[in-house]
């Protein structure tokens, strides 16, 4: 029988499962790591900048690096043409450490192999490839866009030294990178060459390295030291060169004139004049000069502007201009003389600060004492002339007034040495003309006629057959005699033969002696046999 038993069922206890699986921690962790990596990446990433260049030659995205002191501080991550297609923009991702290098005045340039007269640079890029070098700026303003230099800066912007500017009215052979020399030693370089449109001058910026900047003062003179300075004038041929490098590539030299004691050091960007050569720097020490005119009645060939005006070898001025007016009017006793303008520098004659009136008065007094100017040859090789000023006693007696010509005071002249030579030649010719040449020539003709007859006789004598044969006969005789003497000398063949014959005769006589003795003792021994005489027997042989 079935038995129903009512029992209550136990209520199931429902336990709700966990809503979030622990597995979800993994993506969360990955997300955190990813986020950290992103943070790390961006936190260590430097600024991204754009540098503009004229061309992208050598620049490659992902390869070209940016270096500072040969340490990689960035990398080119993109190269694009700019909007107006006039250049390229290189996008560079800098490193975090380079942040302090990037300022508004930071400069960039491409380093690639360069060969120039000034030297060879960037050779290492032949193997490593082109890279971008930077020079950090000092500005407080940051920037993201820069314009790169096509050429490396001649000197580092932060280099210690002095920057000065030179101006010149003519572009010489100087170019960027050319050396700046002091006593032949390179102390800096030419950084920039530009043309100042406003002043119409060529401007050069030089950088002189420390500590050589101390050599520069406000009295310093700069001159173009390019090439070879060959100067041929009345003083001779002068060759001056600063060094082989400047001969090839040019350069600037500077020096401070002797005696410039009160010179003051200069600051950056001080402006100096660039003299064309070394001689010009010294000429300019005598800034004051008063002009006079010399009227020469002789040729002035060989006299050049700049030629020396000297008093007994001491320069007192220079020739300023020649042939002011060729066909001059009569000045005093001179007509059609060649006017030459000279500049007399009072500083050279010990009269610094003297006015023109004072100098004119001084020269006027000197003229009354016999001072005259003349042309003299300074160099026979070049034919250069100079103006010599000296006192002549016989001229002192003449009364000469200081006249004017084209508003210039005229200093009296006297014929130079060449005119004097002409006079001497003329005198010589006169003396020659006075000689009794005709009589002398007639006597000479008679003498020559007699000599001609003597020569004819001599010729006939020499042409005689017997005379001609005489030397040959004499020579033949001498030759025969010489041969004969040679044969009978101690070394001669005939002598040896003769000697041998004598020896043979001696031997023959020697051998005949027994026969002669025997015949003398027994004449018939030739016919009748003779028994040889017995020798006495040796005692011990008995």
């Amino acid at each position: 029988m079935m038995k129903t038993e009512s029992t209550s069922m136990p209520e199931a206890r429902v336990v709700r499962g966990r809503k979030l699986s622990i597995l979800w921690l993994l993506p969360l962790l990955a997300l955190m790591i990813g986020g950290w990596m992103l943070w790390y990446h961006y936190s260590h990433m430097g600024p991204r900048i754009t540098i503009s260049f004229h061309t992208a030659d050598g620049i490659e995205s992902g390869k070209t690096q940016v270096k500072f002191r040969n340490v990689v501080v960035g990398e080119v991550v993109g190269v694009q043409l700019d909007n107006d297609l006039s250049g390229i923009n290189a996008t560079v991702q800098m490193t975090a450490e380079s942040t302090k290098l990037i300022h508004d005045d930071t400069r960039f340039w491409i380093v690639r192999p360069r060969v120039s007269a000034g030297g060879i640079s960037g050779l290492s890029t032949l193997l490593s490839g082109t890279y971008i070098e930077l020079s950090p700026g000092t500005s407080d303003v940051s920037a993201e866009r820069f314009v790169g230099d096509e050429n490396p800066p001649v000197s580092q912007p932060d280099a210690a030294g002095l920057r000065v500017s030179l101006y010149s009215h003519k572009r010489g052979s100087l170019s960027i990178g050319d050396p700046v020399l002091y006593s032949g030693f390179q102390v800096g370089k030419v950084e920039e060459v530009s043309f100042d449109l406003k002043n119409r001058q060529v401007r050069y910026q030089l950088f002189i390295n420390e500590p050589y900047n101390q050599l520069v003062s406000d009295e310093t003179r700069f001159w173009n030291a390019s090439g070879i300075d060959l100067k041929a004038d009345a003083a001779g041929v002068v060759l001056r060169m600063e060094g082989l490098e400047t001969v090839l590539s040019g350069g600037v030299a500077f020096a401070t004139p002797e005696g410039a004691t009160a010179s003051v050091p200069v600051s950056d960007n001080h402006i100096f004049k660039l003299y064309p050569d070394f001689n010009s720097t010294t000429e300019q020490e005598y800034s004051v000069g008063y002009d006079f005119v010399l009227l020469f009645d002789e040729t002035v060939r060989g006299l050049e502007p700049g030629a020396e005006v000297s008093f007994r070898g001491i320069k007192i001025g220079y020739v300023k201009r020649i042939a002011l007016d060729i066909f001059t009017k009569k000045v005093g006793s001179q007509k059609n003389a060649i006017p030459v303008v000279i500049s007399v520098q009072p500083e050279r004659i010990g009269k610094p600060g003297a006015s023109k009136k004072e100098v004119v008065q001084m020269l006027n007094d000197a003229i009354h004492e016999g001072m005259r100017a003349s042309l003299k040859s300074g160099n026979l090789l070049t034919g250069g002339k100079f103006v010599d000023v000296d006192f002549y006693e016989h001229e002192a007696t003449k009364k000469v007034k200081l006249t004017m010509f084209h508003n210039y005071p005229v200093l009296p002249t006297k014929p130079g040495e060449f005119s004097g030579i002409g006079e001497q030649v003329s005198t010589l010719l006169t003396k020659l003309n006075d000689l009794p040449l005709e009589k002398t020539v007639a006597d000479l003709n008679r003498t020559l006629s007699a000599a001609e007859k003597s020569m004819a006789s001599l010729h006939s004598l020499l042409d005689d057959k017997n005379t001609k044969q005489l030397p040959d006969s004499a020579a033949q005789t001498l030759k025969t005699a010489r041969k004969l003497l040679g044969d009978y000398s101690a070394q001669g063949a005939a002598y040896k033969d003769l000697q041998g014959t004598l020896n043979s005769l001696q031997t023959l006589v020697w051998q005949l002696k027994p026969i002669v003795r025997e015949l003398s003792q027994q004449p018939n021994s030739l016919i009748f046999n003779r028994e040889p005489e017995k020798d006495p027997q040796p005692a011990q042989g008995q």
């Binding site: 016919i527 005489e533 017995k534 020798d535 040796p538």
Partner: protein, 181 residues
Amino acid sequence: MLKIVKAPVLLALLFLTGCASNTTAPVYLLLNESAPVQSENVSLQPVSNKTVRVTVADYLRQPQLAISVGNGKVQFSDNYYWAEPLDKAIKYVLRQQLEQVAPGKLLSVEVDVQRLNIFSSGTVEISGEIRVDRGNGFVGQRFRLMRENAFTDYSDVAGVVPDMFGELAWVLNRHLSSGCD
């Protein structure tokens, strides 16, 4: 006429010469020939720098051996002959001997052999004068060499005489080395 006579006379002399006895006496050299050498042993020697001049007495200037028989009497042997004049032979001998005793020494020697007595008793005597020049003129000295019982046969004389001149060269060099004149 003379030509006609000469020819028969010469023919007669030749005939008579053919009838004459032919002596075959040996001749002797003072300087003996050295033995022949093999070609590889030939050595060239420098020419002697010694000048030797020899003169001999007149009685020695003939080929026959002069035998002294006493009382100044000399008998010329019919049996022994010198092969060459004695002055030449003595010159060669003396120079050779001087080369051996004083090699390389520059000498100028003059020898006058006045007697070369070969006695039948076996004695050989050589006497004369010798003069030596060492660069400062000749200095002379008499010499006399004697060797008794030197030979038993006259043919031995050809060996004795060179030995005696060798002795003369040795004495001369000793005098020169000691500085004596």
